[in-house]
Symmetry: C4
Subunit: 276 residues, 4 copies
């Protein structure tokens, strides 16, 4: 970590901080700008609107892009740990949200990818001091993290099954009924096993329909697997969270009942457990 000059320190408080009125005002304006710029991108994609107002929308989009670009470089400039910021989740999102507009100079159409900006809005929880939201988000993320191996095994199994079912359907139904190749049949199997069921490709021979019915019933029951995994993990996390002290400053839960200071930000913990 570098020493920051007073000027950098000041910028850092405004841009990264959320505790001062200035820092809060900056973040609120930023979120509004992001939502507005995404709205402009959406409008620009509607043919009727684009035909009439493309010039204006194009101009507004570039103004936002330039502002976000300046903001990105100021963030790097006033960050105490530049490389750490640039490789953090929000650092990468900040970079990706300005990239598409510049890419569009070479690759027509890629400017639409600027909607990735929306991910920056996730900062809203920190800005609005929604501690309980942050805490609940942590519970969700930790449950997903605890369940990661089981979910990976599940997806692995689903992919193997859909490949085998896809190959079988390709043999049974054949190219003349829409199953033109095994990859396309795998696509059909995924559409079916996830119970989406577009109906753009559907089995027409009796044997194909019997196999399809089996795939559906299988999908119907394995839908239970990720739900079961996550529910079991969530139940444990919620249990654990309710029995622990939540930090009022940063939202970190999981402190022991007799802990006095937050292990993440060092703030003093409330005396009574936050059982709500």
């Amino acid at each position: 970590m570098r020493e920051l000059t007073p000027r950098q320190q000041q910028l850092h408080t405004i841009i990264f901080g959320t505790h001062t009125p200035g820092g809060k005002r900056f973040d609120v304006i930023l979120i509004c700008a992001i939502l507005l710029s995404v709205f402009v991108v959406l409008l620009d994609s509607v043919t009727v609107v684009a035909e009439r107002h493309h010039h204006w929308l194009f101009t507004i989009e570039w103004i936002f892009t330039i502002l976000f670009t300046i903001e990105y470089f100021v963030r790097i400039y006033c960050s105490p740990a530049r490389f750490k910021y640039m490789t953090s989740f929000f650092g990468i999102v900040d970079f990706l949200s300005i990239l598409p507009s510049y890419l569009a100079l070479f690759l027509a159409g890629s400017s639409y990818l600027a909607v990735v900006r929306l991910l920056r809005v996730l900062r809203i929880f920190r800005v609005l001091k929604l501690i309980r939201y942050l805490s609940d988000m942590n519970v969700l993320l930790r449950s997903l993290f605890n369940a990661r191996r089981k979910i990976l095994i599940f997806f692995f199994t689903v992919l193997i099954l859909t490949t085998i079912f896809g190959a079988a359907m390709f043999l049974i139904e054949g190219p003349e009924r829409g199953f033109t190749s095994i990859p396309k049949s795998i696509y059909w199997a995924i559409v079916t096993i996830t119970t989406v069921g577009y109906g753009d490709i559907s089995p027409q021979t009796p044997i194909g329909q019997i196999l399809a019915a089996m795939v559906m019933l299988l999908g119907y029951s394995i839908i239970a697997v990720p739900t079961g995994i996550l529910t079991a993990e969530l139940a444990q996390e919620i249990q654990r969270e309710k029995q622990s002290v939540v930090c009022h400053a940063c939202g970190k839960a999981g402190h022991d009942m007799d802990a006095h200071f937050c292990s993440a930000c060092g703030a003093e913990l409330p005396a009574v457990p936050a059982t709500e």
Copy 2:
């Protein structure tokens, strides 16, 4: 709260009360009238029926509307706390259920919105003294209330994801394959991620189908998130309810084992816990 005149008191007992035979009879007649009036609205929307019997249906609808309007004003008249009633859930529903018929004088067709009346039927649980139903409804509502933040975070994430996937599909598939704009592509992404899958728009290029398969598998696994959240909360609520005393008069659960009077209505609590 105002003092009620004896006349108002009498009307209040009949219209708002459910303990006297008169109050109960009034509510049963009211619910029948609501169901009948909604049935008339449904019938009036069927072309074959409307062509022949529109005149009759129109007359019946207006009779019901006038009756409900009178009832609404009598409710205000005999309410001890007028403003509180008018801004309560049922007060707003009562108002909304007469509004569409009058709106239809200016805006043709809006009379169909009178089906909002159905919400008034929710009073049925109070009328029929279905205490255990009220208690179970409370468990459901309290679980949803406890899970509100987690569900909001979830929807927030789903909206951001569908916007990003929608923009990507708009780029990949393009207007000539049904993805005419980013908003429409977002609609497709929601149809897909919720596993509804109408099939009115569906990807046709290999790359589009690969991305669609990823959206489906993602939808398939995040379907687990709200289920997991609610199940974990429900399990806790049911546990808590079974360990508490339920009031036989108003259905409120959650009293301590040694409580003697209901904290909501003041009625005496049963000695033995209602473990069913």
Copy 3:
């Protein structure tokens, strides 16, 4: 309960009993006959098969119907409590499974309803002495029974919501886009909220698609409600069952740890709890 003559007693042991070799053999033959007769009905509905072999299939169907009719009357004859049998679940199913064939004499086509016979096969669990299956079935049924009020409230809410959404879509999309009446729009709303999504009717106006997206997201999250309810009840039932003694004779679970005889059939209970 009447006194049975020795002849009736003998018939009762064979037809209702499952403990003697004769009773078991009778039930196995019965289940095979039911499956065969349903298979004949299915075959008879396939045009290609029916055109060639209708005569044979028709004859076989009537032979089965007559056999099942005789069986039904013998069951009544040798039952110690005739009225109780006739109004029991299996008594009604036994009656309904012979009715369609006779109805077909007056109402062409109703013979296909003979597939109701399949419900009789549920006896299989009792026949094959699948005690653990019976016990697991009891857990499932008891969970559903405990959750009945919550599930009713849920369906009540879904019906009210779909009616209101249906009326709104009827107004927005109108008859020219497939939403020909409010009842049909309610059908669309149910197809959408349950995430089935046939695509036979689908919104085409931007406002209709926004409302549809909201219905889907709502459906996506309320899918969590019945799952949550049932999971919470099931978890409790499974917990309770594992902590109780299961009768080896009839499968009834839930006996206290120190119980000596089954409260349902009087058989002696195992000393060690069936924790598996």
Copy 4:
């Protein structure tokens, strides 16, 4: 179990073992070969690719088949319990993964079934020493095993219900609206109850749509049953696993807190419980 000659012993260590560098290298190469051979099969099914490169793909496929055939016989040769290997899960998969290519000599097209090979990749967990993955997989499998009876009862019920609903829809809608036979109507019922909803067959009469809506709402609520069953079992398994000692050598969980050696492989257990 036979005595192995030193040569057999050496081969066994490489082919079956995963502890030596040689054994690990062999398995990694094997998994790459399998994935490559499946990729070749997928490519060969795409018409555009097959037309140009069929000759090459055909040759590569046969090289892989011959290699896998040799490997299969070497596995038998160096297995201490030949029959046990041949009838084990992986023994059967190994056999099935070479069969389709030979079958294709007689039955054109059956070579596509070679994708069954993918199942062999499941060995990856053992190869990469992903102990926690193995342990999590065990939790999933044990939950499914514990829930097997409940899931069977559930499928049994779904099949009976879809048959009855299918027959009813065949009567109501009839062959002229796509419901050409009872088996096809059962296919429709399964498509609907699992919420897949292709839309290739859909009810068009008002009565048919009312029945369909009932099937959907039923499907919507019974989707809760397998989820509830599995979640309840999973929650118990995860609980049990967290309170037990996991073997670091083979991943077997469920040892008592004071156990010193793994009951499956005999390796020494860690002193502190693996609570993660």
